[in-house]
């Protein structure tokens, strides 16, 4: 129980009448790498965004390191926590987006140091050191002074990964991080993620790259219509898929 990093129980989320998540439960221990696959509209991305509190959710509990995030019990009533607490809870996780979302007016290094300085209140020198460390880690040691517009998509995404990792999160969330990349740039990003996984980082990865999911994860989740339809080891999911729904999905995807 001490190693439990993420615990989601019975998560429900709807936009108006449309229910996107219909009761998702999931647990992750330290060092777990779980890939989430499924067709668009199955709720994968929404699940990730709920964990990062970018989306509100109506039912269920998300715990990180044993502590509930986003909501609290006030006199028996489920209440959203203060904006300040949301910001704090959010800092427990690092998120990498499909569209990189680097700050275009800041250099690669400044993209990383901004939150180190403003959120973690680290000194300028220390922040710069940390940024350089992570830039080296993602294979871009001499790109610190480059601006996002001067980097390729793959390089931008690697900076975005470095930016999230530099904040020393408990859990990394990857939201279809290669979907906006040219095919020849995908592998450099996936390789970085694999090497971070090898370091023991706990990661929840939404992806369309089946081979990558197979290689990087110790668990794979297949989501369908707002629910976890299948969960198992990569071999169980990809090699011995039992349900028709999963087989139909896998048939239509490239491995």
């Amino acid at each position: 129980m001490t190693n439990r990093v993420l615990e989601i129980s019975n998560l429900e989320k709807s936009y108006g009448d449309h229910k996107v998540l219909k009761g998702v439960s999931l647990a992750m221990d330290k060092g777990d790498v779980i890939s989430v696959i499924g067709s668009s509209g199955s709720g994968k991305t929404t699940l990730l965004r709920c964990v990062n509190l970018l989306e509100d959710f109506q039912e269920g509990v998300i715990k990180i390191d044993g502590k509930e995030i986003g909501y609290e019990d006030v006199k028996g009533k489920r209440t959203k926590v203060s904006a300040k607490q949301v910001t704090k809870d959010r800092a427990l996780t690092g998120m990498v987006f499909q569209s990189f979302n680097l700050f275009p007016h800041l250099s690669a290094a400044e993209n990383i140091t901004l939150a180190l300085k403003k959120v973690q209140k680290k000194s300028k020198e220390e922040s710069a050191e940390i940024a350089q460390h992570w830039l080296e880690r993602v294979g871009l040691p001499d790109r610190g002074t480059s601006f996002p517009g001067q980097l390729s998509g793959g390089q931008q995404q690697r900076v975005a990964i470095a930016r999230a990792l530099a904040m020393n999160p408990k859990l990394m969330l990857f939201d279809e991080v290669t979907s906006a990349l040219d095919p020849e740039l995908i592998n450099e990003v996936l390789d970085v993620i694999k090497s971070v996984a090898a370091d023991g980082m706990t990661m929840l990865i939404v992806t369309h790259e089946m081979r990558f999911a197979y290689e990087v994860s110790n668990q794979v989740i297949f989501m369908n219509d707002g629910l976890i339809a299948e969960q198992g080891t990569p071999d169980a999911i990809f090699k011995n898929a039992s349900s028709d729904r999963l087989n139909a999905f896998l048939k239509n995807t490239k491995f």
Partner: protein, 218 residues
């Protein structure tokens, strides 16, 4: 003829300098005060609740719908009726500043709303608060985007400052009228006025272009 013009020009040089000074003073004050007010109104337009948004929207739309001259005359003549006596200079600066603020607020709202949603989410994801996101992520991008329009507004304010001559502020236009009243060199001195306005406007625009280039996103 031309010796007469230069002679008259020499004689009236101090008046002209004072006119230019007054024009610059009025314009500069209006732009600074207007930008300051406009920032707050723009913030209310973008992030305010329903009530503050309504107030800010009403302010912006009403001011933008009124000709500057009417604003100037109102502040000078109408306010004195209710006991607020502004000097011509004060009334001129106030009305131009208010005119300016309505434009700035609308600009800022547009600029802030054009910052992609992903930027805000990325800022949240690394743990920046609402205020930090605004200062370090949204505002720098919005300001770069509104800079060209802001420069335009500044030039418009300089040109609009001629209107305060109508309530007796002795700026470039009124100085020229006074000089012409003395020597009847109508064409020459109005041409000179035009040239001075052009040079002021042109310098602002050039400076703006330079700054734009300097801070451009690479």
């Amino acid at each position: 003829m031309s010796t007469g013009f230069f002679n008259e020009l020499w004689l009236s040089k101090f008046m002209i300098f004072r006119g230019i000074y007054t024009c610059l003073f009025v314009s500069f004050s209006s732009i600074v005060i207007g930008t300051f007010i406009g920032m707050f109104v723009g913030l209310a337009l973008t992030y305010g609740n329903r009530f503050t948004r309504f107030l800010a929207r009403a302010y912006t739309d009403i001011i933008r719908g009124i000709p500057v001259l009417v604003l100037i005359l109102t502040f000078y003549f109408v306010l004195s009726v209710i006991g607020i006596n502004l000097s011509a200079l004060q009334a001129g600066i106030t009305s131009l500043a208010i005119f300016c603020s309505a434009h700035i607020s609308e600009m800022l709202r547009g600029g802030l709303q054009n910052v992609p949603k992903g930027q805000i989410e990325a800022a949240k994801a690394v743990g920046l608060s609402f205020f930090q996101t605004f200062i370090f992520v949204s505002l720098p991008q919005a300001l770069r985007q509104i800079l060209p329009t802001w420069i335009n507004t500044a030039v418009e304010i300089v040109k609009g400052s001629t209107l305060v001559s109508l309530i007796g502020v002795i700026e470039i236009t009124l100085v020229m009228q006074q000089i012409i009243g003395r020597n009847f060199l109508t064409m020459q001195f109005y041409a000179l006025a035009g040239l001075i306005y052009f040079l002021i406007g042109f310098s602002i625009e050039r400076t703006g272009k330079y700054v734009e280039k300097k801070v451009a996103i690479k």
